[in-house]
C-alpha cells in the first residue's frame, strides 16, 4: 500500500500596523534616513515604544543616526535562503550606528567572511525600490559605500505586508493511509473499538474514551448509505485560497453502522426545498481515476472524505423519524 506522502504549503500575506514609533522608523528608511529614539540620555536604534529597562512609555522624540556605524559582532551566512535579505553570501551583524547607543541587527554585503571583523566601519546603502520596510536598507564596508540621492516617498507608513509561508511534508499515519486507500477503492473504512463496540470514521487510530490503540484487525467497512442528521447552507466567504463562490448545502450525515457523523458533506444537486433532516442518502463515488484524497491529512479536527464522492443521492427510502435521529453527532 502507498505511504500517502503529505506536502502542503501554508502561506499568507499578513499585515502589521507598526504604530507610532516603528511607523516613523519605516517611513524614514523609505526616505533614506535611519531614525533612533531618545530614551533618557541614550538613543535607541532600532527605536522602541518604551524604555526597555523600566517599561516607561517613550515620547516620540526621534533622532537621525548613521548612516555609518561600527560592527559590534557578526556571523556569516554562506548559503542564504530565498527569505534572507540578500541572495548572495553575506554577514548578519550587530551595527551600532553613529549617534546611537544600541545596535541594530542587519545585513552586511561583504566580499567574504575575511572582509568582516568586529570593530569594522560599515555604511548604509538604500535600495532603489523602497517600500517602508526594514529591508529597504543594507550595509556595506565603509570604503565600498557610494553616494546616493534618495527621493523621499509620500505619506506615512501605517501598514506593512509580509508574505509568510511554511511548507510541511510527512506521510499519513497508518490508519489514515488505510482510510485514504479505502476512499480510493470506493469504500468507507472506519474502526470499531473492541472496548465500546462503537465505530468511528475517520478513526483516530485509538479509542479516545478508553484510550486503547486500535489495529488493522479493528478496521471495518461501513455502508455508503446513511441519514442526514443536520445541515447548513454555506454562503462562501472569500479569503486567500478559497475557490467556492456560490451557496451550497453542507450536510452532516450518519453512515449506517457508524457512531460518528461525517460533517461538512457538500450537497450540490438536491434543491434546498427538498433537502431535510431524516433524508436517506447514498454516496455515489467518482470513477476510480477521478478520485482524489489529497485533502486527507493527519488532522482529525476536520474530518474529510477527500474528493472521492461525486454526490450524495437520495435513496428514496422513507425518512428516518426525528425521534430516531441520534443526538450524538
Amino acid at each position: 500500500m502507498s505511504e500517502f506522502p503529505v506536502s502542503f504549503t501554508l502561506e499568507y500575506p499578513y499585515t502589521r500596523t507598526p504604530g507610532p514609533v516603528i511607523g516613523p522608523f519605516l517611513t524614514g528608511l523609505r526616505d533614506g534616513r535611519i531614525l533612533g529614539i531618545r530614551c533618557g540620555s541614550r538613543v535607541l536604534c532600532p527605536p522602541m515604544e518604551f524604555d526597555p529597562d523600566t517599561g516607561e512609555t517613550l515620547s516620540p522624540d526621534f533622532v537621525e543616526v548613521g548612516p555609518s556605524g561600527r560592527v559590534e559582532n557578526w556571523t556569516w551566512i554562506a548559503e542564504p535562503t530565498r527569505k534572507h535579505p540578500l541572495q548572495e553570501p553575506f554577514a548578519f551583524a550587530l551595527v551600532k550606528l553613529d549617534g546611537a547607543d544600541t545596535a541594530i541587527t542587519h545585513a552586511v554585503k561583504a566580499a567574504g567572511p575575511e572582509a568582516m571583523s568586529t570593530g569594522m566601519r560599515v555604511t548604509a546603502q538604500f535600495r532603489e525600490e523602497r517600500v517602508g520596510a526594514v529591508s529597504d536598507v543594507y550595509f556595506v564596508p565603509e570604503g565600498d559605500a557610494r553616494e546616493q540621492a534618495i527621493e523621499p516617498g509620500e505619506g506615512e507608513v501605517e501598514i506593512t505586508t509580509h508574505l509568510i509561508s511554511l511548507t510541511y511534508e510527512g506521510k499519513l499515519h497508518p490508519h489514515n493511509a488505510r482510510y485514504a486507500q479505502g476512499l480510493l477503492d470506493g469504500k468507507f473504512i472506519g474502526q470499531r473499538s473492541p472496548v465500546s463496540g462503537k465505530v468511528g470514521i475517520p478513526s483516530r487510530g485509538y479509542d479516545p474514551i478508553a484510550r486503547v490503540v486500535l489495529t488493522p484487525a479493528d478496521d471495518v467497512e461501513i455502508s455508503p448509505t446513511g441519514t442526514v442528521v443536520s445541515y447548513t447552507v454555506i454562503t462562501p466567504i472569500q479569503y486567500r485560497g478559497q475557490t467556492e463562490t456560490e451557496p451550497y448545502i453542507s450536510a452532516t450525515i450518519f453512515l449506517d453502522g457508524s457512531d460518528q457523523a461525517l460533517p461538512q458533506q457538500d450537497i450540490r444537486d438536491i434543491p434546498l426545498d427538498e433537502f431535510r433532516v431524516g433524508m436517506r442518502v447514498r454516496a455515489i463515488f467518482r470513477p476510480p481515476a477521478e478520485r482524489n484524497v489529497d485533502a486527507v491529512d493527519n488532522d482529525w479536527m476536520y474530518p474529510t472524505v477527500g474528493d472521492v464522492v461525486e454526490r450524495w443521492a437520495p435513496t428514496g427510502e422513507p425518512d428516518v423519524p426525528m425521534d430516531q435521529i441520534p443526538e450524538t453527532m
Binding site: R16, P208, Y239, E244, W300
Partner: protein, 384 residues
C-alpha cells in the same frame, strides 16, 4: 489552596476592526490600564501570563518571546497559555492558580488578538479552499438544538438584539449598532443557515488584562477586589464516536466541578449574572443548558422571557459579549474581566444592581475546551 486570589486591576483596549497600534502597543495599553486601576507598576509584578489564540491568526510564532520587553517581563517568569477560543479564560485561571499556589504575590495576565493582521477564515481552513468558518461548523449543531428543544427561530434574533443593545452601554465594545432591531437581524444576509450575519460575532483587534494578588495584596489595594471563588477547566475531543457536540459532556462536567468548588447548589438563583462565550446567538440558550443553569430544553425560554436581559433574573453578557467584540484570544479573558467588573460594582451603565456573585465562561475549538470561573465581592459568601 495555600492562598486566596483577588482580582484588583482591570484593563481593556477599545475593541475595533483595525487598531492602528503595534502588537507591543496593544498589549501594553491593556496592561498599563490594569496596573493603573490597581495603582501598581510593572515593578510590582512577579510573573506574567499571556494568552492568545493560535499563532496562525497573526503569523507571529511564539509572541510570548517577542512581547517580553513590552510587558517588562525580562528576568521574570513568562507563561503562555494556548487553548484555542477558550484561551482567555484558561489564561485567567492559570494566573489565578499561580496566586493560589502561593508561588507569587502579584501576577499580571494579558490576552489579545490582532485579527486585522491576518484572516481568521483562512487560518481556520488551514489555508485550504472550502473553509466554512466557525459558523458553518456550528450551524448544524444549532439546527439540531432547535429540533430537539423545539425552540422557535426568533430566539437567535432576540439574543442578537439584546447583546448589541447592551454593547451600546459599553464604550470598549467593537459594535455600536444604534439601529439594531429584530427586523434588522432577520433581514441581514443568511450566512450559515439558520445563522444570519447579525447573529455572528465581528472580527476585532483588542487586548484585556487583569492584575491578581493574594489576600495581603488585596488588603493594600485601593479599590474593591473581585474574589475568585472557584475555577474549572474541562476538555473533550472534538470528534469521537458517540459524542454529543450540542450539549458536550465536558461542558456539564466543567460546570458541576465549578459549582461544587464554589458551594453553589442552585446556579440560576445563587449566581447574579454571567458573561458567557456566545460568538453565535444560539450559544446563549445552549450554554445555559449545558452549564446546568436551565433544565434541558428550557434554555431558550429564559431568553424568550427576558430573564437574560439586564434587569432580568439572570442577566447574560451585560457588556455586549462576544457578539459585540471578538478579539479571539482576549474574548475569554474579557468574560472573566467583566464578571469581576460586575462584582466590583464598576461596570458603569451595564452594571447589574447589587451583583455579588458572577459567572464567566469561555469555550474553544469544536465546543471541546471549557474554562469557567466564579467571582464574588466577598471572599467567603454564603449561599442559601
Amino acid at each position: 489552596m495555600a492562598e486566596r486570589c483577588a482580582v484588583i486591576g482591570l484593563g481593556q483596549t477599545k475593541y475595533d476592526r483595525c487598531l492602528p497600534i503595534s502588537m507591543d502597543g496593544l498589549v501594553r495599553q491593556a496592561a498599563l490600564r490594569a496596573l493603573e486601576d490597581a495603582e501598581l507598576t510593572f515593578a510590582d509584578i512577579d510573573a506574567i501570563v499571556l494568552g492568545k489564540a493560535p499563532d496562525q491568526l497573526e503569523g507571529v510564532i511564539m509572541p510570548e518571546l517577542s512581547l517580553c520587553d513590552a510587558l517588562c517581563a525580562v528576568g521574570k517568569p513568562m507563561h503562555r497559555v494556548h487553548t484555542a477560543g477558550s484561551v482567555g479564560g484558561s489564561t485567567a485561571i492559570t494566573a489565578a492558580t499561580l496566586i493560589e499556589s502561593g508561588m507569587y504575590n502579584t501576577v499580571l495576565t494579558v490576552s489579545y488578538e490582532k485579527q486585522s493582521d491576518g484572516n481568521f477564515m483562512w487560518a481556520l481552513s488551514g489555508g485550504r479552499s472550502g473553509g466554512q468558518g466557525a459558523g458553518g461548523s456550528f450551524a448544524p449543531w444549532i439546527r439540531n438544538y432547535m429540533k430537539r428543544s423545539g425552540a422557535p427561530e426568533h430566539i437567535g434574533w432576540q439574543v442578537a438584539v439584546k447583546d448589541r443593545l447592551n454593547a451600546l452601554k459599553n464604550p470598549y465594545a467593537h459594535l455600536h449598532l444604534k439601529d439594531i432591531s429584530i427586523e434588522a437581524v432577520k433581514e441581514s444576509p443568511m450566512l450559515w443557515d439558520p445563522l444570519h450575519f447579525l447573529e455572528s460575532c465581528p472580527s476585532s483587534d483588542g487586548a484585556a488584562a487583569m492584575v491578581m494578588t493574594n489576600a495581603a495584596g488585596a488588603k493594600r489595594s485601593p479599590r474593591p477586589s473581585a474574589w475568585v471563588l472557584a475555577h474549572a477547566k474541562r476538555t473533550e475531543a472534538g470528534v469521537f464516536p458517540g459524542r454529543d457536540p450540542v450539549i458536550p459532556v465536558a461542558a456539564m462536567d466543567c460546570a458541576k466541578a465549578l459549582y461544587k468548588k464554589a458551594g453553589i447548589t442552585d446556579p440560576r438563583r445563587q449566581i447574579d449574572c454571567a458573561e458567557l462565550y456566545v460568538p453565535f446567538t444560539w450559544f446563549e440558550p445552549m450554554w445555559l443548558e449545558a452549564h446546568l443553569i436551565a433544565e434541558p430544553g428550557e434554555g431558550w425560554k429564559m431568553v424568550d422571557s427576558g430573564a437574560t436581559e439586564i434587569g432580568g433574573d439572570f442577566p447574560v453578557d451585560m457588556s455586549g459579549g462576544v457578539l459585540s467584540s471578538n478579539p479571539i484570544g482576549a474574548s475569554g479573558m474579557i468574560r472573566c474581566l467583566e464578571a469581576a467588573n460586575q462584582v466590583r460594582g464598576t461596570a458603569g451603565d451595564y452594571q447589574v444592581e447589587g451583583a455579588r456573585v458572577a459567572l464567566a465562561q469561555a469555550y474553544g475549538g469544536p465546543s471541546s475546551y471549557f474554562a469557567m470561573w466564579i467571582v464574588s465581592s466577598e471572599p467567603n459568601p454564603t449561599f442559601k
